[in-house]
Structures are given as structure tokens and as C-alpha cells.
């Protein structure tokens, strides 16, 4: 067979630092680095205006230290919510900066609700209400206005340039045509976590209607895994309890309108379960599994309160307002009276924003690879971040990055050779004529495999050792299939690479699921061979990929307020 390699047209740029991913964390980090006089490349696969988790907006800042509480309370809450498997140092350092981020956002123009005394209107003690529909455009405008920030949009990073244990830049596929090489001695990974690893809760044309952005392919995780970075706690997958189908948040109704959960028999059930995030997801699932479903959020809402809820959802998830209006206009819920919204679980996601899966970083947000930092949902060990926590992490990462860059301690090498290898790998996937199997087919097979054999929605979030072994075998075969797949055109190439990224993340995830021999977060997943909590498993499950094999490393819990990669206590 005649093989033609189609070369990718390439442009090379050099910067003081590169930030991968233009979501909330990426925008802020780029701004802070530029303030220190460092020339920054901000590399974004779509458009920074609305990219990331904040695309539709938010109606609350969910990570905030309310009146009468301190940062330690927030860290304690998040650690307890994670059933002990999170990093005290990361949580505390993040919590100390949460309220500062809220004030900074208000300075950018975010409208934060105030009470009659002029203080931020708190909703519970960890939450302030905002008109945050435009939160991301405000951040994007600040990044655009920052001198020293160069923004590359429609550029999907595919490879870290990482030779001999340190990073020298990134390679990105440009939409339209060709590729970019960004050489930089310091790189911040801020791509967010991974969706699309499991079969989504919605099907067909509505499959993109997911809890997490369908565009978050786990690119940052995959790049790190491939470069040999240590990852932590991937097995703590996040499963969101949401309004059924629209995947809208339940907190808007629960905290905003005092809604309570009832099962199909009309009985309240929350008190019978624990109050952690995992236990609350479990509650609705168990009620349904045991024949008392479906479950609902029930609120007494006047016409005025109802319109308040409509507006709150327009600020965050307009589909839910559409859904409620459909019912309202059809005469199902006119005027005063009860609002009833069905709730159910999402499919599982891998991310470090709500749960703790992601890069293993030190307190300064340095990864285990020289010259590489991580912040936001791609960074592990610190759950309950939400927008303000992601910003806090980005700020801390930018500070330690600036110190390293300005201190002159970084000495990357081999960028040219690494870039050549990456570009060759990408262009080898292009052919004049595509084969019968395409990226969407590979993704569908991946999602089916994970759904059935690694505790997806379709298997009731249960998995066992034999199922996980089956998942491993199938993922291996899919990786072989994906490496032999050839596509035609730039968009198909980007999609094929995304499918491969998801496969890389899935393989590490399955290794982590296998390694944690207990069921610590039953709402997120249940290990049928190890159904209970096991005190001997109170450690971090970490992993490093070496020569295509995933090596598991168990590390003792970090309980103090600092952690360094070389510290003897955790070696």
C-alpha cells in the first residue's frame, strides 16, 4: 500500500510562558503572569469569550467563606465532603484566597447581590448570589486587555514538548489548517477535566446537553499522562445530581427556593442518607433502585418566586428555563403552587473541580514535571473549587511560575526535536481518503465500554474486578484501532485526536478504579468486590505512565499546610 504523509503547515512562536486552556483559570493566570512582565501565550481550542465551564454563566459563586467562618472551615468542609481523600495544604491555600477572587470579579464588573446592609448576599455560608451570566466575558475582556498576553484561539493543544523530565512548550492543532509550536520554558495546564469518557445521560442529538462541557476532552490530563506526569485520585469520579435531562443545577431550587427532595411516593428521604455530595447523589439513586422513584425537587413557589427561578436559570442554564416555561405555557404549572422538577444522576466525569482527580501538584501547584504547572479542574487533590477556587489556584500557580521564570532556574532543551516528533505523529494520521471507521465510532465504543464495564450510568455505577479487566482489554484494542485510523481534513484530525485523548484518560482511570479496593464514595461509584469503606485504603492512589504501562503509587495523606515533591515523608 502506498502511504503518503501529508505534512502540517507549522508556525513556531517563543514566549516566556504558555497557558493551555482559556477558561477561568487560564485567563487569570495569563493576566497575572503578564503583570510580572512575562510574555504569555494563551492557547485556547475555541474562543475565550465563553469557553470553559462558565459558558452559560453562573447564578452563584459556590466557593466562598461566609460571615462567621474562616478559610479553615472551608478546607475542613471540602475534606470531609471528599470522605478524607483530599489535600489539606491545597484546600487551605485555596480557601484563603476565595473571597479575594470574589472581590476581584466584582471589580471587573460582576454583579454580586447585596443584602439590606450592603453586604454580599450569602446563600448558606459558602455561597454568594450573583448575576453571573457574563462572568466569562468579563474575564476574557480582562485577558484581552492585558498587555503582554497573546491569545491563540481555535488552537487545540495536543502535545507537551517534554524531553528528559522538563517541559519546553506545547504543540497545538490550528482549526482551519496546520499546527502551532509554542516554545516556552514554563507551561500552565488549565484545560479542565474530561467529559465524554462515559456514555452520556442524554442520547442522540441531545447528547451534548451534559453537566460538564462536552468540549472538555481531557486534553490536559492526556498530555500529562503521556509525558509521564503523576496523577492523583482519578478514581474519585464526579457524578452530578441534576435536574433530569436538562442537567441543570439543583442548588438553584434547593438553596434559592427552599425546595426539598421527595421520592415517587411523595416522601422526603434526604435525612435517611448522609449529607456529603456523594451521599446526596446516592440518596436519589437508592430511592429509585429500591422502587421508590422517580425523585423530585418540590418547592412552593408564588408567581414572583417562580419568575425569580426562571431568571436564575437564565443566568446559568437557559435550557432549564425553557423546560419550565414549556410546562408553564402548557398549563401544567400556572400561577401559584408547587413546582416539581425531576432529578437524577449524570454520567461520571473525571475532574478536579468538584472531585479530586487530576495532576498531583505541590502546594505551589507545580506538577512532577519540571516547567509544568496545573490549576483549575485539571489539577487534583482539591475538590469544591468552583470558579473562585479555580481562580485562586491560577493565581498561586502564576506566582510560583513567575518566580521560576524570573529566577532563571528553568533550562528547557530539545524543543525542536520534540516538536518534530509531535508533528510527525499528527500528520501520520492524515490520509487523502479516510477509512470506514472514524473518530465518532471510536468514541462511541469507548463510551459503551466504560458505561458497561467501568461503572457508568448504564451499569448503575457499579463495577467489579472482572468488569474492569474487560474494560482494560477493550480499551487496549480500541487504542490499537485508533492508532491505525486515518482521517481526511483538519476537523476530523482534531476529532480523532480528541478520541485518543479520551482513551488515554480512560485507561488511567480504570487503573485507578482497580487500585482503590473499597467503596469510599458510593454515590459516585460502587466496587462490587469491595463494597464498604476500608480504613487501610486511607491514602492517595496516584499513577505514572511509563513505557505505556500505568504504575500505581500510593501516598500517605497530606495533613499539614505544605507539601513539596521531594519531601521525605511522602517519598
Amino acid at each position: 500500500m502506498l502511504t503518503l504523509t501529508i505534512p502540517l503547515e507549522t508556525r513556531t512562536h517563543r514566549f516566556g510562558a504558555a497557558v493551555v486552556g482559556g477558561g477561568a483559570a487560564g485567563c487569570l493566570a495569563a493576566i497575572r503572569l503578564a503583570e510580572r512582565g512575562i510574555g504569555v501565550a494563551l492557547v485556547e481550542k475555541a474562543h475565550i469569550e465563553r469557553s470553559g465551564c462558565l459558558a452559560a454563566g453562573v447564578n452563584a459563586l459556590n466557593a466562598y467563606v461566609g460571615r462567621g467562618h474562616g478559610p479553615g472551615d472551608y478546607a475542613d468542609y471540602a475534606l470531609a465532603d471528599a470522605h478524607g481523600i483530599a489535600r489539606a495544604d491545597l484546600l487551605l491555600s485555596m480557601a484563603r484566597r476565595l473571597n479575594g477572587q470574589a472581590r476581584w470579579l466584582e471589580g471587573l464588573g460582576l454583579s454580586i447581590h447585596r443584602d439590606q446592609e450592603g453586604r454580599y448576599a450569602e446563600r448558606g455560608w459558602r455561597n454568594v448570589m450573583v448575576n453571573g451570566e457574563n462572568l466569562k466575558p468579563l474575564l476574557a475582556a480582562a485577558a484581552r486587555a492585558a498587555p503582554g498576553v497573546t491569545i491563540f484561539e481555535r488552537a487545540a493543544a495536543t502535545h507537551l514538548l517534554a524531553g528528559d523530565g522538563s517541559v519546553a512548550g506545547v504543540v497545538a492543532l490550528a482549526a482551519g489548517q496546520g499546527a502551532l509550536v509554542i516554545e516556552a520554558p514554563a507551561v500552565l495546564m488549565a484545560t479542565g477535566g474530561a467529559s465524554g469518557i462515559y456514555r452520556p445521560a442524554n442520547d442522540g442529538r441531545a447528547r451534548g446537553q451534559s453537566w460538564y462541557p462536552p468540549f472538555n476532552t481531557g486534553a490536559g490530563l492526556a498530555m500529562g499522562i503521556r509525558a509521564g506526569a503523576e496523577m492523583t485520585t482519578l478514581e474519585m469520579r464526579f457524578v452530578a445530581l441534576r435536574c433530569r435531562e436538562t442537567m441543570a443545577p439543583t442548588g438553584t431550587l434547593a438553596l434559592g427556593a427552599g425546595a426539598r427532595q421527595v421520592n415517587g411516593l411523595g416522601e422526603p428521604y434526604e435525612a435517611r442518607y448522609g449529607r456529603s455530595t456523594s451521599q446526596r447523589v446516592l440518596a436519589a439513586r437508592r430511592e429509585t433502585q429500591e422502587g421508590r422513584g422517580p425523585c423530585f425537587l418540590l418547592a412552593e413557589a408564588s408567581r414572583e418566586a417562580r419568575e425569580g427561578i426562571y431568571r436564575a436559570y437564565l443566568n446559568m442554564c437557559p435550557s432549564q428555563t425553557l423546560r419550565l416555561l414549556e410546562e408553564d405555557l402548557a398549563g401544567n404549572g400556572t400561577g401559584d403552587g408547587a413546582m416539581r422538577v425531576e432529578i437524577g444522576p449524570s454520567e461520571p466525569f473525571v475532574q478536579g473541580g468538584h472531585t479530586a482527580g487530576g495532576y498531583w501538584v505541590d502546594t505551589g501547584r507545580r506538577t512532577t514535571i519540571g516547567g509544568l504547572w496545573a490549576a483549575g479542574d485539571v489539577s487534583g487533590g482539591a475538590p469544591q473549587k468552583y470558579a473562585t477556587g479555580a481562580l485562586a489556584e491560577a493565581e498561586m500557580a502564576a506566582e510560583t511560575m513567575a518566580e521560576a521564570i524570573l529566577g532563571g532556574g528553568l533550562s528547557p532543551s530539545g524543543a525542536g526535536v520534540q516538536a518534530r516528533a509531535a508533528l510527525d505523529e499528527l500528520s501520520a494520521l492524515l490520509a487523502q481518503e479516510a477509512g470506514p471507521i472514524g473518530p465518532a465510532d471510536i468514541e462511541e465504543a469507548l463510551q459503551r465500554t466504560m458505561d458497561l464495564y467501568a461503572g457508568g450510568l448504564g451499569s448503575g455505577f457499579r463495577y467489579g474486578l472482572r468488569e474492569l479487566s474487560e474494560a482494560e482489554a477493550r480499551l487496549g484494542a480500541l487504542e490499537d484501532l485508533a492508532s491505525g485510523t486515518r482521517v481526511s481534513g483538519q476537523r476530523a484530525l482534531a476529532r480523532l485526536w480528541e478520541a485518543r485523548e479520551r482513551l488515554v484518560v480512560a485507561r488511567s482511570l480504570v487503573a485507578h478504579l482497580k487500585a482503590r479496593r473499597e467503596t469510599r464514595w458510593p454515590g459516585f461509584g460502587e466496587f462490587s468486590d469491595f463494597p464498604g469503606l476500608d480504613p487501610s485504603q486511607e491514602s492517595y492512589v496516584n499513577s505514572v505512565a511509563r513505557d505505556g504501562r500505568i504504575e500505581i503509587i500510593r501516598r500517605p495523606l497530606v495533613k499539614g499546610d505544605t507539601y513539596g515533591h521531594g519531601d521525605a515523608a511522602w517519598a
Binding site: A55, G208, R311, L314, P318, L322, E326
Partner: protein, 105 residues
């Protein structure tokens, strides 16, 4: 997922092409914006809000509870305060809501 482009209202300004968080909108062969991969759309409404002419509407597929109601959003700035006027319609039914500072929760 469900976006409808009203070709009678669209002026081809291209504003929507530069805001999609999934980079899913491109100029179609007829010069109008085209959602190339509807099954990847997150229904975030970024494109609706960016359209100065109200030419893009969001609708829900029946599997999500939709019955054909369409939703648009138009930006309004008054005294330096930015608000969004949302309009929903289906058959003879209409609803309108304003979000932004001072509009309550």
C-alpha cells in the same frame, strides 16, 4: 443541540462565529451560520446573546421536554448597565423576562 437560524433576520455579521465555546459555528455555503455538529452543542446560549438581530433561537428537543418553544436573548445597555431581554414563543404563546443587575434573583 437545538439552534435555529432565522435567515430573514440574520445580516451575516459573523458575531456568533467568534463566541461558541466549542467552535461549532461556521459560515455555511449559503453565507449563513451553520451548526456543523448539533450533537456536540452544549445549549449554553452564547450565540443567542451575541446576535444583535435576535436571529438565533434555542429550542429543546422532545427528549429534554421540549415542545417547540424557542428562546432568544437581546443585550440592552442602559446607563452603563447591561441586561438581557429574553423572549420565548411558541404558537400563540409568549413569555418575556429580563435578567441582569437590579432584576432580582
Amino acid at each position: 443541540m437545538g439552534l435555529r437560524m432565522d435567515k430573514g433576520l440574520c445580516r451575516g455579521c459573523g458575531a456568533c462565529l467568534a463566541v461558541c465555546p466549542g467552535d461549532l459555528l461556521a459560515e455555511g455555503q449559503d453565507g449563513f451560520p451553520l451548526l456543523a455538529e448539533p450533537d456536540r452543542c452544549w445549549s449554553c446560549a452564547a450565540c443567542l446573546k451575541s446576535c444583535p438581530h435576535g436571529a438565533i433561537s434555542l429550542w429543546l428537543s422532545p427528549s429534554l421536554g421540549g415542545r417547540g418553544l424557542e428562546l432568544t436573548a437581546t443585550e440592552e445597555t442602559e446607563g452603563g448597565v447591561r441586561r438581557l431581554r429574553w423572549r420565548a414563543w411558541r404558537d400563540g404563546l409568549r413569555a418575556e423576562l429580563v435578567t441582569g443587575p437590579g432584576q432580582g434573583y
